[in-house]
Subunit: 319 residues, 2 copies
């Protein structure tokens, strides 16, 4: 182990920072977490990371010179070339925060940074469900809906770094719900965990039939999927609504990009093959035929480790 070179993957979230040493092939050798301290405008987050890394190197008897490079995924818009982060509101950092240089100083190796959704997309491409693909779209169905777009093996950033905002595709052009982004009818309002719960409640309001969801005080996305798989009609039509919106949006992205794979991750994707089958069905219905035949929809494989794997990919390929 003493002569092996390692990559450092860092995935900064609002409550914890995930850290890992990985081989140059992207296999995790050791991973751990530290809390994200957002007090004092998040001013101790990066010193905390530096300290944690140096301590862990010592603990594992890895000489610092065996650390080759680091990659960072962080929650917000990033200018990867300048190495700065904008509007990192949930970490408390000021605008135009020089994230790359500060982490570089703290860990003592070259650093590349990326938005966390993009980093997770890269992770799935390198070590997960996207393995071997060079053109892929990753979409994360969680509290919100995030995404990353990869063309020719690299992230597409776009004119203002706003590429990959799949959650803000307008899925409901007329009469849609307001989204946090200030626009109405975003995919996120109907295809996130929050969105599917709202759809269920809306359908329940006019529903005269029986449904296990009726007795619940606080419906969750999991309740809906469980009931749907058990055959409950209301839950089924809730899931169908989500699958239809998602299938349409993905089909339309597909007709423009024809990616090899679309990787679906995030909490909602835990509904697994049951949900995947319904999304695929809608996708094939709405997609240009050659796209429906050549673009594969698959479930993400790395779960919470996708960000770390992507950060390590950045470390290996962007330094």
């Amino acid at each position: 182990m003493a002569n092996e070179k390692f990559l450092l993957g860092i995935d900064i979230g609002g409550t914890s920072v995930k850290l890992a040493f990985l081989t140059e092939e992207g296999d995790i050798v050791h991973n751990w977490e530290i809390p994200t301290n957002i007090e004092n405008n998040g001013s101790s987050i990066i010193p905390d990371i530096g300290e944690a890394v140096h301590k862990k190197l010592a603990e594992l008897n890895i000489p610092h010179e065996n650390l080759k490079a680091a990659g960072v995924g962080a929650p917000g818009p990033i200018d990867t070339e300048k190495g700065v982060m904008f509007e990192a509101v949930n970490l408390g950092w000021p605008d135009n925060f020089p994230l790359r240089d500060l982490v570089q100083e703290a860990v003592g190796v070259p650093v590349a940074i990326e938005n966390d959704a993009n980093s997770a997309a890269l992770g799935e491409m390198w070590k997960g469900a996207g393995k071997g693909a060079k053109d892929l779209i990753a979409i994360t169905l969680g509290t919100g809906v995030g995404g990353g777009v990869i063309v020719s093996g690299d992230i597409v950033h776009g004119a203002k770094g706003a590429a990959g905002e799949i959650g803000h595709i307008t899925a409901v052009p007329q009469g849609g719900y307001m989204c946090n982004c200030g626009k109405a009818g975003c995919l996120e309002t109907v295809a996130s965990a929050t969105g599917i719960v709202r759809t269920a409640k809306e359908l329940l309001a006019d529903y005269t039939g029986d449904s296990p969801l009726k007795g619940l005080n606080d419906i969750t996305a999991k309740d809906i999927f469980d009931s749907a798989q058990a055959g409950d009609e209301l839950a089924l039509s809730t899931v169908d609504t989500l699958a239809d919106h998602l299938g349409l949006a993905l089909a339309n992205i597909g007709s423009v990009f024809n990616p090899e794979r679309i990787v679906i991750g995030g909490g909602v994707s835990k509904a697994g093959d049951f949900l995947l089958g319904k999304i695929e069905q809608a996708f094939k219905k709405y997609a240009f035929k050659p796209v429906g035949e050549s673009t594969e929809i698959v479930l993400a494989q790395l779960g919470n480790d996708a960000g770390i794997a992507g950060a390590a990919w950045l470390a290996a390929n962007k330094n």
Copy 2:
């Protein structure tokens, strides 16, 4: 002129082949056309091109060694790496047609080939409305709706070469018209010249008011735009319908890919700033805010020369 190097641009269409000698900077030095002879499975198309090129070189006193390379745009799906064309039904060529090698033999210089819509997109990027942009979408509103997607200065082909099929985005998810592609509700069914005429006829059927379109035997897209600009309400709502569908589709592409520019060309785009303003309005309504602010929608500038310019770009950059 004797020592200057030239690029050869070839744009193969169903009725004519456009040819041009261009400088290495992409400026047309001389251009001309020959008819496309689709008889005998299009077997004389490429010999005709070879003969025309050699004759024209002699006529202009350009030594063959001053021809550096050639690019070809052709109407159908193409494997640019293998240099073959699939399903070139309207030229009569068999499937898996080795277009690149045959043209190379006929003109005696290295050749790169590309689908014609992609070639036009590259032309606008190099010498037209996309100048200076590296991420752009080109969309052609004609009898059908075609497109080309450029990321980091190069065409996105996708898994099965079906990227850029913007015309087959599903714009009308329920109750849309059948498209030639075999799917219903494609953008092409509502945003092409054919589509807008159909929309006008549909609106006219239930319209009790007065409209200059009522007296026409055979409504054209131009009639609709002319009447709309003159203030006719029915024509205006026809144009608004097109702009709304197109603005939504472009906004959704924009949120995934945040291109610097979206270039709108083709016959329908001759409606100019009047149409552009309406598309922009719909685009801004449906686009993720940072995309609405950073992605510019512009009219194509090269008209029928876009394909030739793109073919010359291929000659300069892909050989």
